[in-house]
Symmetry: C2
Subunit: 315 residues, 2 copies
DNA sequence: GGTTGATATTGAAGAAATCAATAGTTGTAT
DNA sequence: ATACAACTATTGATTTCTTCAATATCAACC
């Protein structure tokens, strides 16, 4: 008794029946002739029957083959109907999805999943705003945005918060004072050489928290710096041989970051919680599910699964 | 777009829909729960849809799942119909198949394929006669037998001859005069110590041919020996520290044969051609095909694929 | 008998399916 | 709340399947 058969196997049989030639059928199915030969033979074995008479040119069905071919065709047709249903169901996802995402996350997270979504859901118009936490929460409350991706938790209890993953912080050191062999803790950081983004970014307040500073005393730098871009921050840190803390995903940008400048923190590892917020009345629940799953899936292989982390609030 | 899906995947979905529980569905399908989880997830991925709501207890279909499930059921039903057709087609092979096979082959060849045939074709009554070439050809002509398995060619041109494989001859030496390191040719055989089966066996005349004797002069042995059984021949050879030639398949019987007694012949390797003969009016052509394929398949891994062989006629 | 045009086979590489064990989740009863 | 129970998800290892490129084999036609 046949245990399991795949639609590919059926496709191969139908192609061979149609063309009467192994090589042509193989071309039709975009596989090599050896693959087709082997798969036909495998199916014949599973059935305990010889379906094709290889001696005749063109190749024809045997008596047993004749008895099966119609049912195989039928199954394949029903499979094609299934495909149409799937296609149709996918197209039921339509409309606009307006996403707000914090700037310290956007350039590293979006490339991981956005393309797949845009491709799979051609009927959804995605719009992305790279804005701060404050701006995101404001716009979600006013329903200008559907979904916010940011560091959790937010103080506002009205909005729905869904956790996605924890992103640890790492040391980025352009000064050369850190060494590969040692384990660094938070207190090892020389606060006077630390550079941050402008205050409005949650990343800044988180780093301040990590380093146990009330407010960062930037007057120690002889340079006024206001930027929301991690790229600019890195330039600045490099130029001044300073240091900063970077979230994990940022450190994986091999074209921006010298891996030799990155040092892990331990005991515990400071981290931020990344998650999604929505308005309680947000209705595209299913779309949210998909977004959640896709983001989690895309990020997972990039994160280390450490236990000893300490989540830092963004406010 | 889904490229290929297997009936097992569908089975898993239907089981999960039916039971509302991953573990129960897994039991139903005789796989582990992890397998079922993974396969459901895989299908969901292929479809780009989430088919089951894991949060509800029992687990239920999502809206998208509902849209697919009926088509999945339909496909699976048609697959079950296919199985029935296959079953039915297999049962069309019925009736008697009377096989004659030479004694020097039967005990080594039959176990390789007979069981599979008997199992796969429960409606065929197989009957096996272990008889000599002469007897086989006689009975096929009189239609007492359907099929003969023996050493080809036979002189009788009326019967249909189909080749199966070539079986080489090896030296079986109980005297200890052969040594592992040397390559032996036919002329190295001391004819005076050679033992054979009784004359009626084609194996005897083939060995005589190999050793270039007109008729074996058995008077050199002080023992009259008449047996058709290779087992008895081996006993005799062991007892008298003699030697004989054995066909390849016989030498593979590890329980009968000391591997250290076996020596290869080279330049060229003498061999017999094993094949099937049938009466020209034999009608169960398809059955013959199956038999041919099964024997070839079962024997293939046991034979070495040498080029330099010399086929020895059995008459 | 060799040449041509086909199918079959082989050996290797990559992907998929499966399992046992374990981690993580959720709901319930303390 | 907290711990337990019941369930699903994940992991890492193993086996099996699928596929390909290259090659062997077969068959028909000169």
């Amino acid at each position: 008794m046949i245990s399991s058969i795949s639609t590919n196997q059926i496709k191969y049989v139908l192609a061979l029946e149609k063309t009467g030639s192994f090589s042509e059928a193989a071309d039709l199915c975009f596989v090599t002739q050896s693959t087709l030969s082997i798969m036909i033979k495998k199916l014949e074995n599973q059935c305990n029957l010889i379906l094709f008479d290889r001696k005749s040119k063109p190749i024809t069905l045997t008596k047993e083959g004749e008895e099966l071919i119609n049912q195989l065709k039928l199954i394949y047709q029903e499979f094609e109907v299934l495909q149409e249903i799937i296609q149709g169901t996918n197209q039921e996802f339509y409309g606009n999805l307006r996403i707000g995402i914090i700037p310290t996350l956007a350039p590293f997270l979006l490339p991981l999943f956005l393309n797949k979504l845009v491709t799979n859901y051609p009927n959804i118009n995605f719009s992305i705003d790279e804005i701060t936490t404050q701006e995101i929460t404001k716009r979600i409350k006013t329903r200008e945005l559907d979904i916010g991706i940011l560091s959790l938790p937010i103080e506002d209890q009205e909005l729905i918060q869904t956790s996605l993953f924890n992103e640890s912080f790492l040391i980025y050191d352009a000064s050369g004072t850190f060494s590969r062999n040692k384990k660094y803790k938070i207190k090892d950081i020389d606060v006077s050489r630390l550079w941050l983004l402008e205050e409005s970014h949650c990343l800044s307040s988180q780093i301040e928290k990590i380093c146990l500073l009330k407010k960062m005393d930037t007057s120690k730098h002889n340079l006024e710096f206001k930027s929301g871009s991690i790229l600019s921050l890195l330039e600045l840190v490099n130029m001044n041989k300073g240091l900063t803390l970077l979230p994990k995903l940022a450190t994986l940008q091999k074209n921006l970051i010298k891996p030799s400048y990155i040092f892990n923190l331990v005991n515990p590892i400071p981290a931020r919680e990344i998650g999604i917020i929505t308005h309680p009345n947000f209705s595209k629940k299913r779309l949210l599910d998909i977004l959640e799953i896709e983001i989690k899936k895309s990020v997972k292989p990039l994160l280390d699964k450490t236990k000893r982390i300490q989540l830092i609030n963004p406010y």
